[in-house]
Symmetry: C2
Subunit: 469 residues, 2 copies
């Protein structure tokens, strides 16, 4: 599936002087090899690659700053790349230019266990961070599924399964080190838990998808590992019952740590992929964090709510290995579905609505998928009102793609009509730019554009994403 | 105490044409009376009033938009005014102009109990909102002490006693309606709990103190009233013991709802003002929210921690009237201290540091106050690492003021050296502009300035606050 054809016309030329300046700086850490460029010109979206002209691997904030200055002086785009796990075409080099890969900036800079904070270089992944802090008794909760880099997670305002309890990157990022478009290095905050000191630069850059600056370090909140964790799975006869049980749980204020929904298609896919034997019906996967008593109390309450919504069984997974197996299966759901149609690509989209509208939004979207005869699953972090639709398409079949895009468009329209958002956690990238306008209206988009123009007057930072210049 | 003298030179003239245009629009809701202008030219800071040229009372977002357009076309400043409870000179009309009072925009626009959200006009106060939603079983937790307006609370990124559990206006504002400097009306978000849809305009305006736009409506999160609430007070021999008990509580992850510190001076003042008989020693005031069992468990844990830090007693206040009395006394602390020195004014400042440094920061600041022989108290939302120093000065005694400002400056220096912030919740206003530069550095300040220039190119929105033009 190609990005719109006219984009090729925007490709800027790469001046020889810039290439040699970067070469002398980065040496073997600069590559113009076709495979390397293609690898960096794609993400997990269904777009065909749009490779940059060259890829450089940065080792320090200073190197990023130098590279940005060089690109700026030549008017050449620069695109930050972390783990490449974004879903809406975020890292495609639409106008060519330099991709700066931050994955080798993978040092945990400081862990302040006594303050419940850690500062990491942008390339540190969430699993790596949790591995490195394991002995402190703390953990970093945000879990978007993929083992994404913290820099990328901040840049896309990522969240995932634990957000219902712990919040998203918006709430959990205390400060960033950012290289701005003019190549300056700024720090956007401190390690204080709260602050009223001026404009909220941290949240200006969180979610800006590399279009305002390049995040090179991230300071995040950590949390004490809960005294007790338990998990449970529970099937339902209908998706409506499952979703309504969650709505009730949230409305009652149960401080649930995770609650994931998988429709029957999602369950079928992970049964096949992970050799499980879950009933092939809509499923909820719960996790509870707290004291021994607190976890018990929450779980009993949720079990009662589930029973009121005609739940089929409520199975406990108290052993860590059982929990891990279930969560691994959940995280494999994306790849599991892909295997249901060999040769296909997935169009994966998400939206988020006020919780009371969630059942309606999911059911109408499900009906739309059924009506269009597409292979799909709906999976969601539904405690937040956030769900995903994953649709399998033949990348060479325009009608197939159009069918999926139609479902996507109607889902977004539905979410917006419910005062929801066109993306709860995937971000805008290239794919949702029109939806963004639909959601915010021209006045708000102009305000965003004014910020973009002010912070990146040369339009070199990941150009062509989020908003039109 | 006057603002710097040279500011008077910045005062812009008020064109007759603007005044008559506003008069024909606002009629009796426009006032140029001296008393009205003076009332709107001051807040709770120690500055002498800097009155605007006129005050208008808006009744709708459209009226605000029209007023902003008119002011913009004449290059005249416009300053939003809510309850006038800010503390750093936020509403002083440094360059003259029009103050737009939003207190009559006091309608609760919508309560979506089933989604745990409410949308209110900017002039609705936090107490009014809680009164109006009482029957829904929900509450709005943010409590800065004063009965501030929600618009003002969003504009200053307010927080207060409950923030340790529920977060600040940063975390609890879902969307804003804002009149931008060009008089357009935008909405910055939706009612979805999370979103990755473009730049985070909500948080661009939260904390911008009226310098980027005027907030006319606020959509906030609500929470189920906890099943059980209990409160306790506990005295300590030393401030160090009290603060260290809180540090330990936070590090253990106890989900405490409120934990307030009052030093012995603060306790003395509220004893006198509220006719209480608390031991005149450093005090902690706790509140626990949760299930019956959860509250009991939290409280027992905290009681044990307090005992390990040599607490003197641990008294329960389970009856709502006892709790209310204690919290009322806490909220009166500011006025209570003022009465310790008749004719004085208070310089009230705050900072916020990483939790492990809190005892050190408070003790050094306390020692500095003692050394300088000033009448003061230190009070804090210390679960967040946030505390206040309130110092009484003779407004006619330059040496007295200089002494207090010296203490303030050293406190901020101390907080910044600990990777904290120059203000946890009061905001920058006029008083902390230099500290803001010290905290963020020139690069970050230039980034803020670029945003200000982009969103308010005519510098009409509350000019002279937060950052220098």
């Amino acid at each position: 599936m190609n990005p719109p054809v006219q984009l090729a016309a925007l490709r800027r030329s790469l001046p020889e002087a810039l290439l040699s300046a970067l070469q002398s700086l980065f040496g073997e850490r600069l590559s113009t090899a076709q495979a390397m460029r293609e690898h960096h010109g794609r993400d997990e979206s269904s777009y065909d690659p749009m490779p940059p002209d060259a890829v450089i691997f940065a080792h320090s904030t200073d190197e990023v700053a130098t590279a940005v200055k060089l690109c700026g002086s030549h008017g050449v785009p620069i695109i930050a790349y972390g783990a490449g796990t974004s879903l809406e075409g975020h890292v495609l080099a639409l106008q060519g230019g330099i991709t700066i890969d931050l994955s080798q900036m993978n040092q945990v800079v400081a862990v302040h266990a006594e303050d419940l904070t850690a500062t990491v270089q942008a390339g540190v992944t969430r699993k790596q961070l949790n591995q490195e802090i394991r002995d402190t008794g703390l953990f970093f909760p945000i879990d978007p599924g993929a083992d994404a880099s913290l820099g990328g997670m901040a840049a896309t305002r990522a969240s995932g399964t634990n957000a219902v309890r712990y919040g998203t990157m918006r709430e959990n990022t205390l400060a960033l080190t950012v290289v701005t478009a003019d190549g300056r290095i700024i720090r956007t905050g401190t390690r204080a838990k709260k602050s009223s000191a001026g404009y909220d630069l941290t949240r200006v850059f969180v979610g800006s998808e590399g279009t305002l600056g390049i995040i090179t370090e991230v300071t995040v909140k950590l949390y004490p590992q809960p005294e007790a964790i338990s998990a449970a799975v529970c099937s339902f006869h209908t998706a409506a019952d499952a979703v309504n049980a969650v709505i009730r749980t949230i409305q009652m204020g149960v401080p649930i740590a995770r609650v994931e929904f998988l429709d029957e298609n999602g369950v079928k896919a992970i049964n096949a992929h992970d050799k499980l034997s879950l009933p092939e019906k809509p499923l909820l996967l719960f996790e509870f964090h707290g004291s021994e008593n607190g976890v018990k109390e929450q779980a009993e309450l949720v079990q009662d709510i589930a029973a009121e919504h005609n739940a089929i069984g409520f199975e406990w997974a108290t052993r860590p290995e059982d929990r891990s197996r279930l969560w691994a299966a959940r995280h494999n759901a994306y790849f599991a579905l892909l295997q249901m149609r060999p040769g296909s690509r997935a169009i994966s989209t998400d939206c988020c609505v006020p919780i009371s509208r969630l059942a309606e939004c999911i059911l109408e979207t499900k009906a739309d998928c059924e009506k269009n005869g597409i292979i799909y699953s709906i999976i969601g972090h539904i405690g937040d009102g956030n769900f995903h639709v994953q649709m399998l398409v033949d990348p060479h079949d325009a009608a197939d793609i159009a069918r999926a895009e139609g479902i996507n468009e109607r889902m977004v329209g539905r979410a917006l009509a419910m005062d929801g958002t066109c993306t709860g956690e995937h971000g805008v990238g290239l794919h949702k730019m029109d939806f963004l306008v639909q959601e915010h209206g021209e006045g708000a988009i102009d305000t965003m554009r004014a910020i973009k123009h002010a912070l990146d007057p040369g339009n070199i930072m990941n150009p062509g994403k989020i908003i039109r210049w």
